[in-house]
């Protein structure tokens, strides 16, 4: 054990010079060191310092974001488990309980895209099945720099292949996601993975240790030197030198994880497991500390008994290793042998590595001596908080953006409508993501009711794999989506945060699902700059407000800060702040779902009505709820990311979304699509592409043409309505106070035709639109992929 500090001067100042370098290496500050010494009553040894380093990183203890996360609404009638456990759990009724969570793997993916993304998938799955749920679906939210730079194209190739490799092999369908591009993500891509699972155990498995003397059992893979210090690495900015951190990236084994899922679910059903914690960031350190602190007990861990894949590992290396596919259990005393037998049958490691102590410490033994001993709460609870001052007004650069006016744009010429539409459909952020999801097995497990790209949200049939009579499977489903309008967040984090929640809820409503709950992934730049902290704080405010009004509590999530790249000239490039909202919803009847495609009418027969819900076309120019500020049109066609993005009217959102859901349930709506990137005309084009047949739009002239066709915001949804349902739906909408406007009618002729006032502005073949939409990604990713297994 290290020496006791002399009283008087702060411990850090008295420490030998080598300590300063170690403190820095662990990502800690001199103040942290002094606090550690205070808590221990002595100087920490090297292993202990490493344990504090990972546990006090942003990744593990939210030291920057915790004060902000407290404002999220976290309770509701369906919430069974909120923030703080491995994953949130909601009650879907009829005995179905859903565990779900989102997590980032940004920095590992930046330096090793394939394994970085793959292990991100493996990690989020473990969060789900640690609770006793069988993983049923994966989603992902990805951000990259422009594909014109080959490095970004290579990162995207690698990330998508890595997600496919892990998800396909482990046998969990990847059913939906979103991919967007912006120069700020060059070199710092975002890789967020979300998982959903259905609970298979009676009681939800928790992580707090209990039962003094109970054995602590290690299961899964062996421990090696891979992934050393990944949590600290994830909490620092990236630079050219980050490539040297590749040892901090782990290597995944999805086949082993498949066995681990089966063995864990068997073990949980046996009732032998008292508590479970997966070993993710900070590995053994984190799992021991969390289990001990949550149970208000201690854990003794004997490193000599930990299954190792290499010899000569130090205590520091054991404690900080992030080797994948490992879990730690507290097991009923006397039941450890049968439990370990289950794991061995699946070809997995299993060993008793310690026991639960009454004394609340994490005590680590190696070679018969104490290698580290830290009070449980010192590591995992009462962790330091970096309190920062919030700017009293928006940063100057943001205020400058808010000065921008739509009137400064040149007027859009009538003949420019078609090329503009094609240009938007070809934009990588808007273009079809088929190139991506074709690589994911989105069908395995046989519950994927809606194919990727077929609707605004994924829908999975709720079917427990344990049901004795498979025919008893019910007609209900779960819908899921991930969303973040990062451009809006960059220009106004509060409005952007609100819009992220509103859009996620709108996407669920567009398939007919009732939004239930949220998991969020806050991807932000460094909070240490006044602007960075302001962005984080304001986005959290917007997210909280929208979650409160839309009654979708937050059940947990992940915070990824320091998403900045140090450029070769020394300057710092922050990402656009990206608070990704993952939302789940309940579908009462999967037979009444709708997607993007409206039904094809017989030739010569007028098809369904096309109707706009939400703010109408003649909305006043000065209405802040709708506009071109921060829009795709502005970015793609004018190269501008500026203006103050639209304000989300949450009351209007509720009215529109409710109307869409009840229209779908009543069978009055045959297709629905929310208006987001690219505005109204892009939304209609996407529906036409999905349907493969055309539409004739005829709308009155109102204001500027570009605003009429490409403005974003306004809680808008486009729906198709059969002629015989139209009167009833119209009456219902009016009664519900949902604004509506007829846009035109579907036609068999595969042309998108647009008449504004008395001018024919557009008559374009759906094939031409589809070509632009479908080739947007492939034509930028022509380079053949590197060979990877799968």
């Amino acid at each position: 054990m290290a020496s006791t500090p002399a009283s008087g001067a702060p411990a850090f100042d008295q420490a030998p010079p080598a300590i300063a370098a170690q403190v820095k290496q662990e990502g800690l500050t001199p103040e942290d060191y002094n606090e550690i010494v205070r808590r221990l009553g002595r100087h920490p040894n090297r292993a202990e310092l490493g344990m504090f380093g990972v546990m006090w990183s942003e990744h593990c203890c939210y030291r920057n974001s915790r004060p902000l996360l407290g404002q999220f609404p976290t309770e509701g009638p369906r919430i069974l488990v909120g923030p703080g456990e491995n994953a949130g759990v909601v009650d879907l009724g009829e005995g179905h309980r859903l565990a779900f969570k989102i997590e980032s793997h940004n920095h590992p993916s930046a330096v090793e895209p394939f394994q970085g993304a793959a292990t991100g998938v493996g990690g989020i799955l473990r969060d789900i099945f640690t609770m006793g749920a069988r993983p049923m679906a994966l989603l992902n939210a990805l951000r990259f720099g422009p594909l014109e730079e080959s490095r970004n194209a290579g990162l995207m190739e690698g990330v998508v292949a890595g997600i496919a490799h892990y998800g396909n092999c482990v046998g969990v369908p990847t059913v939906a996601g979103e991919v967007a591009f912006d120069p700020s993500y060059s070199g710092n891509p975002l890789v967020n993975a979300m998982a959903l699972g259905l609970m298979e155990t009676e009681t939800i498995v928790r992580s707090g240790a209990s039962g003094v003397g109970n054995p602590v059992v290690y299961v899964g893979s062996t421990t090696g030197r891979d992934g050393m210090g990944g949590a600290s690495f994830a909490s620092a900015e990236l630079s050219e030198d980050s490539l040297d951190d590749r040892p901090a990236v782990q290597v995944g084994d999805p086949f082993l994880e498949k066995g681990l899922i089966e063995a864990c679910l068997e073990a949980f059903q046996s009732g032998d497991v008292v508590a479970a914690q997966d070993m993710g960031a900070a590995g053994l350190t984190c799992s021991c500390a969390e289990m001990a602190a949550k149970g208000d007990l201690g854990i003794e861990l004997d490193l000599d008994r930990v299954p190792a894949r290499e010899t000569g590992m130090t205590a520091y290396e054991f404690l900080l290793s992030e080797s994948q596919e490992r879990m730690l259990f507290v097991v009923q005393a006397g039941r450890e042998e049968p439990l370990m037998q289950r794991f061995r049958r699946w070809g997995l490691q299993a060993a008793v590595v310690g026991r639960v102590l009454e004394e609340p410490v994490v005590r680590v033994l190696q070679n018969g001596a104490v290698a580290a001993e830290v009070p449980s709460r010192a590591l995992a609870e009462d962790t330091p908080i970096n309190r920062r001052e919030l700017l009293s007004e928006p940063p100057a650069v943001v205020q400058q953006h808010w000065q921008w006016q739509e009137s400064s744009l040149p007027a859009l010429a009538a003949e420019a409508v078609e090329p503009t539409l094609l240009q938007l459909l070809d934009d990588p952020t808007i273009a079809s993501k088929r190139w991506v999801w074709r690589q994911y097995d989105h069908q395995v497990q046989a519950n994927t009711v809606v194919r990727p790209g077929g609707a605004d949200a994924a829908v999975l049939r709720l079917r427990s794999q344990q049901e004795d009579d498979p025919q008893s499977s019910n007609q209900r489903g779960v819908a899921a989506t991930v969303d973040c309008p990062n451009r809006w967040v960059a220009l106004d984090p509060e409005r952007g945060g609100m819009a992220a929640v509103a859009e996620a809820a709108r996407n669920l409503s567009c398939v007919g699902a009732e939004p239930i709950a949220v998991t969020d992934n806050l991807n932000f730049p460094s909070p240490e700059t006044p602007t960075g902290y302001w962005q984080l704080a304001m986005a959290c405010r917007g997210l909280s407000e929208a979650c409160r009004v839309l009654q979708t509590p937050v059940t947990g999530g992940n915070v990824s800060l320091y998403n900045d790249t140090r450029l070769p000239d020394g300057s710092i490039q922050p990402i656009q702040p990206t608070p990704v909202v993952g939302m789940v919803g309940l579908v009462d009847n999967i037979n009444t779902l709708v997607g993007l495609a409206w039904p094809q009418p017989a030739p010569g027969v007028a098809g369904d009505y096309l109707v706009l819900l939400g703010l109408p076309l003649d909305t006043a120019q000065d209405d802040e709820r709708l506009g071109l500020a921060g829009s795709s049109f502005l970015q793609v066609c004018h190269g501008l990311c500026t203006g103050r993005p639209p304000h989300t009217d949450l009351a209007l959102e509720q009215q529109v979304q409710k109307a869409v859901r009840s229209g779908i349930r009543a069978g009055q709506i045959t297709a629905a699509h929310d208006v987001s990137d690219g505005g109204l005309l892009v939304a209609v084009a996407e529906m036409a592409i999905a349907a493969g047949c055309g539409v004739q739009l005829s709308v009155p002239s109102a204001g500027r043409l570009e605003r009429l066709l490409f403005a974003e915001g306004g809680a808008r949804v486009v729906v198709s309505v059969p002629e015989d349902s139209w009167p009833a739906l119209q009456a219902a909408l009016q009664q519900a106070g949902c604004p509506l406007q007829a846009l035109g009618r579907v036609q068999a002729d595969p042309q998108l035709q647009l008449r504004v006032g008395d001018r024919d502005l557009l008559d374009v073949a759906i094939d031409a639109l589809a070509h632009a939409h479908q080739q947007g990604l492939p034509r930028r990713l022509e380079q053949p992929a590197l060979g990877h297994n799968g």
Binding site: A161, A164, G171, R438, N447
Partner: protein, 201 residues
């Protein structure tokens, strides 16, 4: 697979552990898709060595119906129950999408429910499904009507658009597309039902 067989088609089925050696009360064997042993080595290579598959050899030799789907097809080629090999897709990517197939049932027992040149939809989901074999093997297979399933639009670069192959006796069928994913009306398409139903006669 189990959902398609017992959930949709009401055919009794059960899983067999890899070290089982007896197929005593088994009427038909399905080697389903998946990633046996992670397919970190050549796809299906490790699985083909498991004790259970030794028993499958004997089962097939006795004329028992054996169906290998996707990874199961890869395993059958590794076992030598079917000729040829499945290599990496031409575009090097995993591909998951619906696929049109042309059936030439010939003497394949498991495809007797389909008409000659019938077009059906089964999805594919594989990274290594490009069928390859020696030229003389190919002409032999063709001559004996063993190239029983071909892609309408070749997705992976398979030689002669081959999607599925049977042995000469007609009791062993391997195919890359997934008939079990074309059995549930809710998930789109039921073209695969007839194939699975033929397992039990």
């Amino acid at each position: 697979m189990a959902w398609a067989l017992s959930g949709i088609l009401d055919l009794p089925c059960r899983f067999l552990w890899h070290d089982t050696t007896s197929l005593e009360d088994i009427q038909a064997v399905v080697l389903p898709g998946g990633f046996s042993y992670g397919d970190y080595l050549r796809c299906g290579a490790l699985a083909s060595l498991s004790p259970l598959l030794h028993a499958v050899h004997a089962f097939a030799a006795d004329g028992g119906p054996v169906l290998g789907i996707c990874n199961g097809f890869q395993v059958l080629t590794e076992m030598g129950l079917l000729p040829g090999a499945l290599t990496r897709n031409q575009n090097l990517h995993f591909i998951c999408e619906p696929c049109e197939l042309v059936v030439s049932p010939g003497s394949c027992h498991l495809l007797k429910g389909y008409g000659d040149q019938e077009r059906v939809q089964f999805p594919i989901a594989h990274g290594e499904g490009r069928y390859q074999c020696q030229a003389d093997t190919l002409s032999e297979l063709e001559q004996h009507g063993q190239l029983v399933l071909r892609y309408g639009h070749n997705p992976n670069g398979s030689i002669l658009d081959v999607a599925g192959v049977c042995n000469r006796r007609g009791n062993v069928l391997g195919l890359m597309p997934h008939p079990e994913r074309a059995t549930d009306p809710l998930l789109g398409g039921i073209d695969g039902q007839r194939l699975l139903q033929s397992l039990l006669g």
